[in-house]
């Protein structure tokens, strides 16, 4: 890839005066020197592809081809004029004969002379046409060679881009898995911090009880069980904090790795399309009455353009994000600390969906309890509050690529109609 950098676009070369091949080479070298050392690979190869086409046509061939075409057109004009004269003379001969006037033989000689002239022009025309066809064929040959290189590249790209897209999709799933692990861990940590708070409250009560027995503050703090409890509470909080920090860092690192390869994918996706587009530069058609032998190039000339296919998979644009909920419901969910088992939530959610949508509900829109528990690694009797359940369920939908429209539309309503009412 460190080879010569030759960039030449059809636009830039079109307006340049016709130059000799030596000048073209010199310019290419000069251009190579002027370009920054680290130009992108795609520009280099596209530049070479363009020059493989342009150098031929834009330099001088096209001009010469036009000159030849003009010669052919000139010959055609003369031949047509002579043919017309021939017809007029033939009519005159007819008239003379009809009126029995002598002299038609002289006119016949004139026709013969015209025929000879026509033959001469036709021979010249054929020679010029042969020359033009040879040039055209050469141009087509080079264009086809360039197309073969482009086709080979496109083929290799198609072969490689498919597994690349699969791996990138796999990475997206990994990203969603990380989010699910984080959501589950956050829920568990939340519950554990709450338990630590409760232990702390109970500890404070017991410390007060010790004080009522006449112990001084110093004695209370030095009381073995109190000291041990204080240490355990600090340790517990610290463990949660450190783990969360670590998880956040690991998540960021994973996301960074994914973002890095994902960002590099786009230029490769674009390159494939650029290789297809570079083939759009075709030789100019001279519109000469072509001979049969030219047709042998048609097959390859009509190479199909490889249009860039749009990825049908749309990135979820906020579909899985929590829907904007009414302040009241949000506040209510936030305040709701009642814990239910994961199984209760899932069966309640499925029942809610069944009740609301009935026959319109697709099997893929309900949550498979077994799969949910195995994906989240939560036990069926693990208790969590609604806010955590909602968060985990949202991540689960995203990971499983489940249609999230009902989740977004109904999850808060499910809380308001079912969970809140049951309390």
């Amino acid at each position: 890839m460190e080879k010569g950098l030759i960039t030449s676009t059809p636009e830039s070369t079109k307006e340049e005066p016709v130059e000799t091949e030596t000048e073209a080479e010199a310019k290419a070298k000069e251009s190579e020197e002027k370009k920054p050392a680290k130009a992108s690979g795609v520009n280099r190869i596209l530049g070479r592809m363009e020059i493989a086409y342009n150098q031929f046509w834009v330099n001088r061939h096209e001009k010469k081809a036009v000159q030849l075409k003009n010669k052919i057109d000139g010959s055609d004009l003369k031949i047509r004029a002579l043919e017309q004269s021939k017809q007029e003379i033939a009519l005159a001969i007819g008239d003379l004969k009809a009126q029995n006037i002598p002299g038609s033989e002289t006119l016949k000689l004139k026709i013969k002379a015209i025929d000879q002239e026509i033959t001469g022009f036709s021979n010249t025309r054929d020679a010029v046409q042969s020359k033009l066809e040879e040039r055209e064929n050469k141009a087509k040959l080079y264009t086809n060679k360039r197309d073969r290189v482009a086709d080979k590249l496109i083929g290799h790209y198609d072969e490689k881009l498919e597994p690349m897209e699969e791996e990138l999709e796999n990475l997206q799933t990994c990203k969603d898995q990380v989010d699910l692990v984080m959501a589950v861990t956050e829920a568990k940590h939340g519950e554990q911090l709450e338990k630590l708070n409760n232990i702390k409250k109970r500890k404070t009560q017991l410390e007060n009880a010790l004080r009522t027995t006449g112990m001084s503050e110093k004695q209370v703090q030095k009381f073995e069980a109190v000291k041990a409890l204080t240490d355990l509470l600090v340790q517990g909080r610290e463990k949660v904090r450190l783990e969360w920090d670590d998880l956040m860092q690991r998540k960021a690192r994973i996301n960074e790795k994914i973002a890095d390869v994902d960002a590099k994918a786009n230029p490769y996706r674009d390159k494939r399309e650029k290789f297809a587009r570079v083939k759009a530069g075709r030789p100019v058609s001279m519109e000469v009455a072509t001979r049969q032998r030219v047709s042998e190039f048609k097959g390859t000339e009509e190479a199909t353009s490889h249009t860039r296919t749009e990825s049908s998979e749309e990135k979820p644009s906020g579909v899985y994000e929590t829907s904007p909920m009414e302040a009241k419901v949000a506040e209510s969910i936030e305040k709701d600390k009642e814990r239910r088992t994961a199984s209760d939530y899932i069966s309640g959610w499925n029942t809610y969906l069944q009740k609301k949508y009935g026959g319109d509900l697709l099997a893929t829109e309900t949550v498979n309890s077994k799969d949910f528990l195995s994906s989240t690694r939560l036990s069926s009797d693990y208790k969590l509050d609604f806010k955590d359940f909602k968060n985990i369920l949202t991540r689960y939908y995203k990971l499983k690529k489940m249609p999230a429209d009902k989740l977004n539309a109904d999850i808060d309503k499910f809380f308001a109609d079912t969970i809140k009412v049951q309390k």
């Binding site: 080879k3 409890l229 994914i258």
Partner: protein, 91 residues
Amino acid sequence: MTADLNQANTKSAQGVNAQLNDLLKDAKNLNREIDKTNSEANKNIDGIEAVVDRSVNKITRIYSDLDAIEENAGDELDKLVLQRTKDLADE
């Protein structure tokens, strides 16, 4: 009177101590639970990161394969351009 009070206090302190020890047990269990949660989370993330690394390596290999393919195509194009230049010079 003082002796009675002291005895009552001692008894009361013993009661509180027993409750504190129960609480200590709860706190230890909770710490173990936290350890288990953290260990599970780490194990899960380890597994995911291993898959990510494998995929990233595969993709990186694909990128270098594509670069190599391009380099070869570049060589072919260079030859084509040179051949064309030579042809034009010969005309």
